[in-house]
Symmetry: C2
Subunit: 359 residues, 2 copies
């Protein structure tokens, strides 16, 4: 099992010591409970610190100053990791370009490039089972569309959008014909010396919906410790995002819908019907807001939820979907995520439901 992932570890943090603090701070009933049964432990954290003899407290403060220096060094470490990521992005790019060419059908892979042996026995067994069915299906298809082979891998990205819950939650029926024109998704990292960020580029073939060849979403990151809270630094984090303006063809904007509304004239009492444009559910809302930092206008709690979701989706595109798209297309990555998830959370399904994306 992989032990690289911190959150699993965070599950084992010391709760007992906090009960003391919670009780002092009046944080509610929790402080009165005793889930760990650890009453007889020495006093809690800050409390303990306050109770230390002055000479010792002095030394603890010295350690804290060292800790701030550590956080500053750590920030430099993460900058170098970002540089490494830029360096490796360039190494992956030729492979991703090939992927795009195979997906769009611009280039046909050679025999050698297609050689593939399924190592997993169960896969092979399954393959046996469905081979017959598939053969029949193939025959049917070839009958139905004779001599017209599909170009590249049809609906490659759309299939991924359908398969990954985080994305399918955003996907609407009217988005699907548009996403059939999605050719590629790329991640671009900010240049050295620039504020740290990454950009998701959605490349489209020319289509009947909008004029843009590329839709972009920029995620801005913060990569240094906060002066007021240096110890909370855990590496770069997404702090803001910025979408782009979609140049929709007339009447093709799926992010708005026209509703009819009856209006009563105050004086005369006559009723007339007016049409009004209102926001519509769509994946393409992902490119809103066009400018970052507009979200403060929204309901506070609501906007925080949406932003957290948005950052998570951006991160997921960058870390998972783009680097291993084919595995989301075939479903292999979904299996990995699932078994991984089970390992981390065990009976955590309720959590998953709570985190679902509602728009």
């Amino acid at each position: 099992m992989s032990m690289r992932h911190r959150p699993a570890l965070a599950q084992h943090r010391g709760r007992s010591c906090h009960l003391v603090m919670d009780a002092i701070k009046g944080k509610g009933e929790q402080g009165m409970q005793n889930p760990g049964g650890q009453v007889d432990r020495p006093v809690g954290p800050h409390f303990l610190e306050s109770m230390l003899p002055k000479v010792v407290k002095r030394r603890v403060h010295a350690l804290k100053r060292l800790q701030v220096q550590c956080a500053n060094i750590e920030a430099k470490f993460y900058e170098e990791v970002h540089e490494l990521e830029r360096k490796y992005a360039a190494l992956y790019q030729p492979l991703f370009d090939k992927r795009r060419d195979f997906v769009t059908g611009t280039v046909e892979p050679t025999e050698e490039e297609c050689e593939w042996h399924s190592e997993r026995e169960e896969e092979e067994e399954l393959a046996e089972e469905v081979k017959e069915k598939a053969a029949i299906e193939d025959a049917k298809k070839e009958e139905a569309v004779p001599r017209e082979d599909p170009k590249g891998i049809p609906e490659f990205w759309l299939t991924i959008f359908r398969s990954v819950d985080m994305l399918s939650d955003m996907l609407q029926e009217h988005d699907e014909p548009i996403l059939k024109h999605l050719k590629d998704i790329q991640v671009k990292f900010s240049e050295p010396g620039q504020p740290m960020s990454f950009t998701l580029e959605f490349h489209f073939e020319s289509n009947g919906y909008f004029n843009n060849a590329v839709l972009t979403k920029v995620y801005k990151m913060k990569s240094e410790p906060d002066a007021s809270e240096p110890f909370s630094f855990e590496g770069p984090e997404i702090i803001d995002c910025e979408g782009c303006l979609i140049d929709w063809h007339k009447g093709k904007d799926v992010t708005v819908k026209t509703i009819k509304k009856k209006q009563k004239h105050k004086g005369r009492g006559t009723v007339r019907t007016v049409t009004k444009q209102v926001p519509n559910d769509s994946f393409f809302n992902f490119f809103n807001p066009v400018k970052g930092e507009q979200h403060t206008e929204m309901n506070d709690e609501d906007s925080e939820f949406t932003l957290a979701q948005d950052f998570e989706i951006g991160h997921f595109f960058r870390e998972r979907i783009v680097p291993r798209a084919v595995l989301y297309f075939t479903g292999e990555a979904l299996e990995d995520d699932e078994s991984f998830d089970e390992e981390e959370l065990e009976e955590g399904d309720e959590e998953v439901c709570q985190h679902k994306h509602h728009r």
Copy 2:
């Protein structure tokens, strides 16, 4: 909020597609349920792949070959990250050495080195509240032990062991007097060219329990994709560990206890009492097994649990405790872990309990 952490994302993996597979593979009732309400989705992953027209399947195989190449590049990336970690370990070391010297009292920090302003208002309020109490306590202490200032920061590491659940679960009463002699914990990374590993070094001052000045635990890592499962590669993972032999003073080994057992003579029927040494709960079992890969002898399920726990503890020492020890001493890191945990898991307390360490 930080979006660096994958497991949070994994919560959003596509479950719907798996239901098809689960049903096919006969994985139980789950396949019959429909939690996502997504019946009308296109067919599931491998299944989908099998149903593709041959020409398309060929191209998907080409993408898979590209994906294997990506995994190999990724392995090189993680090797470079390991190198970066080695480089930064050297930059942190002078600060950690200072920490050790302040903790043990070998060096007294200067006035400048101790300057510390508490930025958080609530902390200051709290400080006011307890200042009086503390003053009284201080007075009492000075009365009780007049003219004898404590050396360094007494019980620094022991306090951390007591505060962090993952460690306190292992901690026994008889371990505490021994851990009072723990001077420092260091992490050492494997040299370049060597198989990837890290070593935890527990440095002790001379004590009445064992002769070792340093107890070590090596964690061996695997940093390249598995040939049979290249897509499951997610970066280096701990694959094995190796403790060390503790040279206990006679009768001081807390990892064994002597029990008395009544033995009945088969023929004569007389009863005699024999003494027998049996394993005893102790943190110092952490240095067992002395040699790696002995665990196969154990009960399979049980040993896997213990190993997973052990790897997690090793990782936690490396990633959290050693780099930010003072914050675990004061409790600040516990708060961070907790709020972090709440963000990730929300009502996940039950999970935490399930993951607890039982020996």
